[in-house]
């Protein structure tokens, strides 16, 4: 085993944390865990890559991808979530309807972009060229990604301190009480789907330089992002960051000690063990009274 797994594990873990944060953004006001989130991330990577291929600068491609994918997330809320949740707020029909939405995106993207992975360059001044530091092989992009993820998650947390952010938390805690204070949960849900999908697109474009943009990205990030969200405690963004890093390191460790084929198994076993001990994750909120 060499120390390279530390930066590469943390960089991959950062991406998992970002996917998990995307889940949380949607989950907080809606109590819906979006099964299409992985495909929204993937779509962000693809549209961003195409934007850059068409000559757009990285940042413009990012904004374009975020806006487009945001609209697709908004459409998901309108078509696949709001009507199902309205019919029965307790059933889990949304699992199947968001899964259905993910299949549609996945298949359409496959037809538009084809099966081949697309290489995406990191934004200036970062590079994926590796160098040695402290006995570890890494790249400026890996390091930048780790730092940027921390910053982004802190920024998201800052958002939850604004009045709109507090309203989102209020809806999550007591929807009816929020209604009586003049908060419109449906409007917040729509915004959350738009912003959560936009955030997913950003995650996708950030993932592309290390993972390539391809339809393969969707399902694997769905699972990894869920694992990070569940280990960190659903709804807890800082928990997701730490959980993402733990999972990223576990994956890199498992892949390096055993063989790369064991990456998925390492994180899965870790997830099962943690849920067995702490069903609400490492940093999950305690259960509230429910009878």
């Amino acid at each position: 085993m060499d120390l390279d797994i530390i930066p590469s594990g943390l960089a991959a873990g950062s991406l998992y944390a970002l996917v998990a944060v995307g889940f949380n953004i949607l989950y907080r006001p809606t109590n819906v865990f979006n099964f299409a989130q992985g495909d929204l991330v993937m779509l962000g990577a693809m549209t961003g890559a195409s934007g850059m291929a068409a000559g757009l600068p990285w940042f413009a491609a990012l904004l374009g991808a975020a806006a487009l994918v945001g609209l697709i997330g908004l459409a998901e809320n309108v078509v696949a979530v709001a009507p199902v949740v309205r019919r029965s707020s307790v059933s889990h029909a949304w699992i199947i309807s968001t899964l259905a939405y993910s299949l549609i995106i996945d298949n359409l993207v496959g037809h538009v972009w084809g099966p081949d992975p697309i290489r995406v360059d990191p934004p200036w001044p970062f590079s994926v060229t590796s160098f040695m530091v402290g006995g570890m092989r890494t790249s400026s992009y890996q390091l930048g990604l780790i730092v940027l993820t921390g910053v982004m998650i802190l920024a998201i947390e800052q958002f939850y301190r604004t009045r709109a952010g507090k309203a989102v938390r209020a809806v999550a805690e007591d929807r009816d009480a929020a209604l009586l204070r003049g908060i419109d949960p449906d409007a917040l849900s729509r915004w959350s789907f738009f912003l959560g999908a936009g955030f997913a697109a950003m995650t996708g474009l950030l993932a592309a330089p290390t993972m390539y943009a391809s339809t393969q990205l969707g399902p694997s990030l769905l699972v990894k992002g869920f694992e990070a969200a569940a280990v960190g405690g659903i709804g807890n963004n800082r928990g997701a960051l730490i959980a993402g890093w733990i999972l990223g390191l576990a994956e890199a460790f498992g892949g390096s000690v055993l063989s790369p084929g064991y990456q998925a198994a390492s994180t899965f076993v870790l997830l099962l063990v943690i849920l067995l001990i702490q069903p609400r994750g490492l940093f999950g909120a305690p259960e509230m009274r429910s009878v």
Partner: protein, 607 residues
Amino acid sequence: MSEPFVAAPRQSVRASGWLTVAAAVGLVLVFPIVAHSDYRLYLGTQVAIYLLVAMGLNLLSGYAGQPSLCHGALLAVGGYVTALATTDHGWSFWPAALASMGLTAAAGALIALPAFRVSAWYFALITLAFADVVGGMLVEWGGLTHSFDGVVGIPMPSLLGHTLSAGELFWLVSAVDIACFLMIANLIRGRFGRGFVALRDNEHAARASGISLIGLKMFAFVVSAAITGLAGAFYAVQKTVITPDDFTPDVSIFFLVVVVLGGSGRLWGPLIGTLAFFVVPELLTSLQSWRLLIYGIVLLALMLFAPHGLEGTLRSGWRKLIRPRDALPATAPQAIAAPVGEAGRNGMAVTITGLVKRFGGVTALDNIDLQIEAGSVHAIVGPNGSGKTTMLNMICGFFKPDEGSIRLDATDVVGRATARIARLGVGRTFQTPKLLPELTATANAMLGAYAAERASTVEVAIWAPRAAREHASLSARARYFLGFVGLGDRVNEPAGELPHGQQRLAEIARALMGQPRLLLLDEPAAGLSLSEIDRLGALIRSIAGLGVTVVIVEHHLDLVADICRRVSVLDRGRVLAEGTPDDVFRDPAVVSAYMGVRPLTDAQVPA
């Protein structure tokens, strides 16, 4: 059609059920003869194998409400076990198929243990992650699985030296299908079906009826996985070659689509769903590359417009067409009297000492001491928010106290799971009735006897005489108790269609089915009319006549004064007064707690 939960006359269910089975056997027997082509026979066998998986998945996802995205992977585990055992290790098919079932069930149990402690959607994602891992391991463990080359030359099963032909394999798989169908129908008809639906639709009702949630979910998953493992064994021998590409993540999605399309949680759903898929094979081959898109659109459309799938749509269409009303003769409401053989039970005494419960900064119960005599009717009254329901929730184990002890007879129950407390003989009803809306009133009442049923799983699965007898006697008792509470004419109605007041009564019947020695009633009179309240009073008195201790939380003081031997008044989490209704309702402190601070004059005191 024998959908056991839907109102239909009992006898004709049997008759049409056996007729259907006979018809199915006939079809299966002639199919290989009339198929005329190997391809059609192959396709028929494939339908039969897929049907097996779909039935297993429907049990778990449809009935028990735990959506699985790993049935393709479980199929792979089953398939590889049989394939490798019969090729590389020279086993014969039969032990290999058993090993497929066993290992698949074990894999299921392993991931189910942590997954079932959390919400259904966690379960869905954990199964997805599991499928991902299995897919990876099929390649990774190349030494065992031959990696991308797959396993080739899987032999046909042989029986007494005779190797099965394609037609005989079809017969074999179909026979297993029919057996599996009957087994699932029996499980669903018995207590497991009611338990599964309770897991799906109301976990509180399940726990209060003595069901251990994790145990039952685990059972559903293990049975479902074992069926899928067996399907995997057949899959391997039918295809003779299996590779990791046979078990892409799409396969799991495919089975989910089949179940949802047919009608999830419907007995005939998997068959309808599987057939629907194979009726349009041409469409699917020409649109192969759009398959996921089609799955997605079909699933989405179903969730939006036909959540009960083709089966549900057909059934409701059929109902609209012929409008059958309850064919069963309405039972005349029975006079209220202690049911035969039910009387003379030992009521349970409740001793509460120093009970404290805090929610955040609010002390909901503050050092409560309370003694409830065995066999008495004891009311807990008090203003809203005084902690009455919290008290019931503590006795039956929904909440754990911060301090103090609760003893039922001599047993300290603090910290015990709700289901275990229920099994001691504690029944309860809820302020908002928690029934299973799709099941009939009878099935809902029978849920209450869940923990008391004695027929073993196998006996239920094959509907052995003991299971049949128990079912018949429970069903009769359920009808009896429904009559007892005054719902004799609604026994076959789905509980969700009963008016609110009657739902409360159905809950009482459900609680009585558990042969409680302590019955906790939470505001049973709320929303009832005056005449209904009188009837309720008579009912509670007859329940007490059985020897059951009754604890009632109630606002209608008339009713309380009428039926209770003792009353405890709670106010802001403390016991304000205790005694006979006459004494307590004259107590100025009580009157002021109810009506405001100024005590009423003597003339205004209810007497």
